[in-house]
């Protein structure tokens, strides 16, 4: 039996053949950069600006982002790029032919949650700017605009994604300009407010300088670890590992700290991380319009990639394998639209905390995948077993679930929360020396390694 290239292959979760992986380094870099750069950069920058000054904060964030990105690359990269599969399918050797539902649920909640936040953020910014420019007045009718803009944004994303990964790439090619607009905004703020920027003191800095510095690093690591759900769907379009390294490390990891400097600078000098607000202060309404364009472009690009990755992840469910791509897109976009219509304010106010908790799981997930691929399996992955959910399948373990991965994931999450509470930022004494993500990934990897020795002794998991 021979396999022929299928133009719609990028709308399935099946492995992509080499002739279907047409994205070179430049195309992948553009797509990853557009995916990574979004409004959350301001939020990350604002968080860092609470504890560190501009230069120290920028360097800590940059280092953290690159450290987090390399963990994601080493965890999801090898299996995804070897077989052209997404992040979720790549977890089946560790979690089992049914246990992959746990990382799939993490992916779905994380991506749909973040996408909802980003789209609502865009809609609120658009309304605020219209009020500031005198286009709208401060009336109750404006409340209806947020749901309306959210649904319009969802409709545009849906239309673009009808073309699968090509739609993601097309949107990225258009919207990548926003990265340069972002750098221009940063230049404006730095060049006009440099003395204030250097003299500014972070508002919530701890007396422990090492704690502040480590928190800057941790925020960077955490930010890039949250790319784990997205990355597989993008790098599977590249032909080999050599093609993905620089795009991932430079295209995806570098824009986050650079654009976060906007939020960092804004929060230090003007006490606001939202560039739509501070560009109006610095340069007037024209600059604010440019900024809104940036917010729109940034969030559209990220949400498009997120919806695509999430839809591919859903394809791993047997019941959704034969559904049309349009149906799958509707299933993925519908929650975002419904949140925007019915509970935008509640979601915006409360869901961020939940997402912070969900993000805790990605460090141990990376630790588990790294130790499984490089230490336990030494690069030997059974591609057939990834798609066979039967008792004789190599990744069936016990009833389709690998208890070693579940225990390790729980141990990693518990380790993270013990080192740093992601909501209160309460921490243990060792945290300033170790961060929270790195011990969390290490603990999960060690627990997985030790418990997998028992799994292997029981003859499960296809380790022989």
């Amino acid at each position: 039996m021979t396999a022929n290239a299928n133009p719609q292959a990028d709308e399935s979760a099946w492995p992509l053949l080499s002739e279907e992986r047409t994205w070179g380094a430049a195309r992948l870099t553009l797509t990853l950069a557009t995916t990574a750069a979004a409004t959350w950069c301001y939020l990350i920058g604002e968080s860092v600006g609470s504890y560190l000054g501009f230069i120290k904060g920028g360097l800590a964030l940059g280092a953290g982002c690159m450290m987090g990105m390399v963990l994601v690359l080493l965890a999801a990269g090898p299996t995804c790029v070897r077989f052209g599969i997404d992040s979720i399918a790549a977890t089946k050797p560790q979690f089992g032919s049914r246990g992959w539902i746990v990382p799939a649920a993490l992916q779905a909640v994380s991506i749909i949650g973040w996408n909802s936040l980003l789209i609502i953020f865009f809609a609120k910014s658009a309304v605020q700017l219209s009020v500031a420019l005198g286009i709208l007045d401060l009336s109750w009718r404006n409340a209806a605009l947020v749901p309306l803009l959210t649904v319009s944004a969802c409709a545009i994303i849906f239309t673009a994604l009808r073309r699968g990964a090509t739609g993601v790439s097309m949107v990225s090619n258009i919207l990548v300009a926003h990265v340069f607009i972002g750098l221009w905004m940063l230049y404006l703020l730095v060049s006009r407010r440099w003395p204030e920027l250097i003299a500014a003191h972070p508002a919530n800095a701890s007396p422990n300088h090492l704690w502040n510095y480590t928190t800057g690093i941790e925020l960077g690591i955490g930010a890039t670890l949250s790319w784990w759900p997205y990355i597989g769907a993008m790098i599977r379009m590249a032909p080999n590992g050599r093609t993905i390294v620089l795009p991932v490390m430079l295209g995806m990891a570098a824009p986050v700290p650079l654009l976060s400097l906007i939020g960092l600078a804004g929060s230090l000098v003007l006490k606001s991380s939202d560039p739509t607000e501070w560009l109006r202060i610095v340069g007037g309404p024209t600059y604010a319009i440019v900024s809104l364009t940036f917010v729109t472009a940034a969030n559209f690009g990220t949400t498009t990639a997120g919806i695509y990755a999430s839809a591919i992840g859903l394809r791993n469910f047997a019941t959704l394998q034969k559904r049309t791509w349009t149906t799958l897109l509707l299933i993925t976009i519908a929650p975002v639209a419904l949140v925007g219509i019915f509970i935008p304010e509640l979601f915006f106010a409360k869901f961020g905390n939940f997402l912070a908790l969900i993000g805790v799981a990605f460090a141990p997930l990376c630790g588990i995948q790294i130790v499984d691929y490089y230490v336990l399996r030494r690069g030997r992955i059974d591609i057939r077993a990834i798609y066979v959910d039967a008792p004789d399948g190599a990744y069936y373990f016990w009833r389709g679930i690998n208890p070693a991965a579940m225990i390790a994931l729980a141990a990693g999450c518990a380790t993270y929360v013990a080192f740093l509470n992601p909501l209160s930022y309460g921490s243990m004494e060792l945290y300033p020396y170790m961060t929270a993500s790195l011990p969390s990934a290490t603990a999960a990897a060690l627990v997985y390694l030790l418990s997998s020795l028992l799994v292997r002794r029981a003859g499960r998991g296809g380790y022989d």
């Binding site: 099946w14 800590a60 080999n240 620089l246 490390m249």
Partner: protein
């Protein structure tokens, strides 16, 4: 069928869709490709370990 259910022989795996089967067969018949070559590992170590350590050192003493 009843005999099969009573025995300890695992049930046969359900047949995969023909296109998926063909894709898997294509991977199984080819030699396993190496994921990262030496140049890739050099970039990974440089960008993921060495440069972050330099940034951390510079940032701490800044």
């Amino acid at each position: 069928m009843a005999d099969l259910a009573k025995s300890n022989i695992p049930a046969p795996a359900p047949a995969l869709p023909p296109e998926l089967e063909a894709r898997i067969a294509a991977f199984e018949s080819a030699a396993p490709p190496s994921v990262f070559d030496i140049a890739s590992w050099c970039w990974i170590i440089l960008l993921g370990v060495a440069i972050p350590l330099v940034l951390l050192a510079v940032g701490w003493w800044a």
